[in-house]
């Protein structure tokens, strides 16, 4: 393989792209060429580097010097001074003090605050996602090698079970147990599917993993396939994630070339290959049986369960379906062992969790922290406090199927069990932090609008219930509400939970239930007093914009 003297990484998360990362990247290529360094220095775009205050960021290895924010006009000087003459330019460096993410973890935070701990995002942003060689240099494929040459399928499942890893897609089902179900299912043909239909509003952790470290998912799927006895895999990526799809397809081609996918991996009798399947814009396809229908070329309408996919999945064959983040934990667990993994997080929810931090805070972005951190810590440490010093009112977790968490629960440890005891849910890992200027009726209306839109329409309670609940909330926000509406809303919420066929309908009522439990007075003010205390709701019917007359 080709060896380079230096490596230049340019951040390409959405913020960096908006701040000209693409131009910076191109200028680097041009200047490196101009100085005749193209055989010595590589330059790559690396997605989210894990720092969300300076854009774009440029890291140069092996010195691990971080420059930022870097503009096009500084590129020539960096190439000339740093790469050509070997002199670091202190005045262009990003200040260490403000670093978050992995770099800060290495530099400053250890032992003082609940620091970030990157397992899932270990390589994202630090390696070139288009190079399998770079992945291999960073421990890539050592876990698969270990599995195929030293372990039996039962050993692998045993290790995952011991690690206590739980599904990171939202439901928190024990991963090892699911693997053992598929392993025990009868059948010659089995499938492994990676659910990358990440569509929960506010959640983009899987996108960052897929864009930043696609090989880790391929490796994890091969390990899972070996454990359950599958020889074919699918990655179902939502249609909107074009870059993630491109990176995966490229990664699969490279993996085939290097013999990490295909026949007789590592000289054993184990064969495995992966297809990428693009979604076409449907939130419901994240539900695992709807996802199966969609791969089969049908409308993404959930199946009736049981039977479960573990015995009757894709084309009726036993199928293992895991979320991207869940799979991304697997190689690290195999490499370091279950004991190592259990040192992170809490005893009942070991490991780390990737959260997207959003809303009315100073810094938004992605963090990976041990299970059990609290909302207060997230807001104060990672989000650098509330924007404009407004008061924290509520957080909405896990996209639209998550809970509405009032400020009074901000010291509850964020792990599956503690949250369940408090009557709320962790969901898929989005933390939408809202300040006092947020109206709960307005928020609930927006959330229900999402469900109304995304309901597949197969079962009546969900199709009709979400529409009705949205209409009632819209009425309240327009000053047309009545107190009896609140009883109807609660009943709808209950009916949705009890009678819907799948998770979408079952959780659609959660925002209603949470809002009426924690913020009932504010909702009633809309009805009794005819005012929106936060000053958000129109409180009168919106006048529709008049269409242009041609």
């Amino acid at each position: 393989m080709k060896v380079f003297r230096s490596m230049v990484l340019v951040s390409s998360d959405p913020q960096s792209m908006l701040h000209g990362a693409e131009e910076v990247y191109q200028r680097f290529q041009a200047e490196i060429k101009a100085f005749g360094l193209e055989d010595e220095v590589t330059v790559s775009m690396v997605g989210d580097i894990g720092r969300h205050d300076v854009f774009p960021l440029v890291i140069i290895y092996p010195e691990a010097v971080t420059y930022g924010p870097v503009g096009v006009e500084q590129v020539r000087t960096i190439v000339e001074e740093h790469l050509y003459k070997g002199r670091v330019i202190p005045e262009y460096q990003a200040s260490v003090r403000e670093l978050s993410g992995r770099i800060a973890w290495l530099n400053a935070r250890k032992g003082t605050v609940p620091a970030e701990q990157r397992i899932v995002l270990e390589r994202a942003g630090l390696i070139d996602p288009t190079s399998i060689e770079d992945y291999i240099l960073h421990d890539g494929y050592s876990a698969l090698g270990k599995v195929l040459t030293e372990m039996t399928p039962m050993d692998v499942i045993g290790e995952i079970q011991k690690s206590g890893l739980k599904g990171r897609g939202g439901a928190g089902f024990p991963t090892g147990l699911k693997w053992s179900f598929v392993s025990k299912a009868k059948g010659e043909k089995k499938y492994v599917i990676c659910n990358a239909d990440e569509s929960e509003p506010g959640t983009f952790k899987d996108r960052v993993i897929l864009e930043g470290d696609p090989f880790s998912i391929l490796e994890a799927m091969a390990i899972a396939a070996f454990a359950v006895g599958a020889d074919e895999g699918y990655i179902y990526v939502r249609g909107e994630y074009a870059l993630a799809q491109e990176r995966l397809i490229h990664a699969i081609e490279q993996a085939r070339e290097y013999g990490f996918l295909g026949k007789s991996l590592f000289g054993t009798s184990f064969s495995f290959d992966i297809h990428v399947h693009s979604g076409a814009g449907a939130y419901i396809c994240g539900e695992e049986t709807a996802l199966l229908e969609s791969i089969e070329g049908k409308r993404g309408e959930p199946r009736i369960r049981p039977p479960y996919p573990t015995t009757h999945g894709l084309w009726g064959k036993p199928t293992l379906i895991n979320n991207v983040e869940t799979l991304a934990n697997v190689p690290a667990i195999i490499r370091h062992g279950a004991e190592w993994y259990r040192q992170f997080g809490t005893p009942s929810s070991p490991g780390t969790k990737v959260y997207t931090v959003l809303g009315n805070v100073n810094i938004t972005g992605l963090i990976e922290v041990p299970m059990g951190i609290t909302l207060r810590e997230v807001i104060a440490i990672y989000a650098r406090g509330m924007k404009n010093n407004r008061a924290f009112k509520l957080a909405q977790t896990g996209g639209s199927s998550g809970s509405v968490i009032p400020a009074s629960l901000q010291d509850t440890p964020m792990d599956f069990d503690s949250y369940a005891r408090a009557g709320v849910s962790l969901g898929s890992g989005a933390l939408l932090i809202c300040d006092e200027d947020t109206c709960v009726v307005d928020l609930a209306r927006v959330l229900l609008n999402f469900f109304r839109r995304e309901s597949c329409g197969k079962c009546t309670p969900c199709r009709v219930g979400t529409e009705r609940a949205w209409k009632l909330l819209k009425g309240i926000s327009e000053g047309q509400g009545a107190l009896k509406d609140l009883e109807e809303l609660l009943e709808l919420s209950d009916n949705l939970y009890q009678l819907s066929n799948c998770g979408l309908g079952q959780t659609a009522g959660t925002p209603i239930r949470d809002v009426l439990k924690h913020f009932r007075a504010e909702v009633e003010a809309h009805i009794r007093l005819g005012v929106c205390p936060a000053g958000v709701c129109p409180m009168h019917e919106e006048i529709p914009a008049s269409p242009v007359i041609a």
């Binding site: 939408l432 927006v446 242009v548």
Partner: protein, 159 residues
Amino acid sequence: MTDLIVLKESLSELVKNVVEKHGASRAELIPILNEINRKMGYLPSYALEEVARLTQIPKSQVFSVATFYQMLSTDEMGEHVIRFCESAPCHVVGGRQVWQRLQEELHLQPGQTSPDRKWTLVTVSCLGVCGVGPVLIVDDDMYGNVTPDMIPEILARYA
């Protein structure tokens, strides 16, 4: 009339190529429709009929799949399509005001195409770039951290 026949012929050719590329199987139906939609901007009924004929999938099922997914459209879109994220993360950081301004500037309701066929305005669910909300996409260009004041400037780029 001649024009229509030519159009149908080139459309048949396009559909045939796409179906051949992916293979005429049920599992490839969504990839096939995705590609035709990407190339044509929408799925004309004639194209759907051709897909049904070539893949031997009943027409009713091809139409039922084509109308299920949001990224597939059976309606012809305007020259430029504006997709506005209406999910909660964009909404609470100012999306509401951006949406109002967008409607005011274009005089369009969600789902409508302007009479001169220049603009189509649609709302979409979360696009997964919530760190920079409010977000809107014009054709293939993404705009983040959008404020109401930026709307006229963004629209002018497509004038």
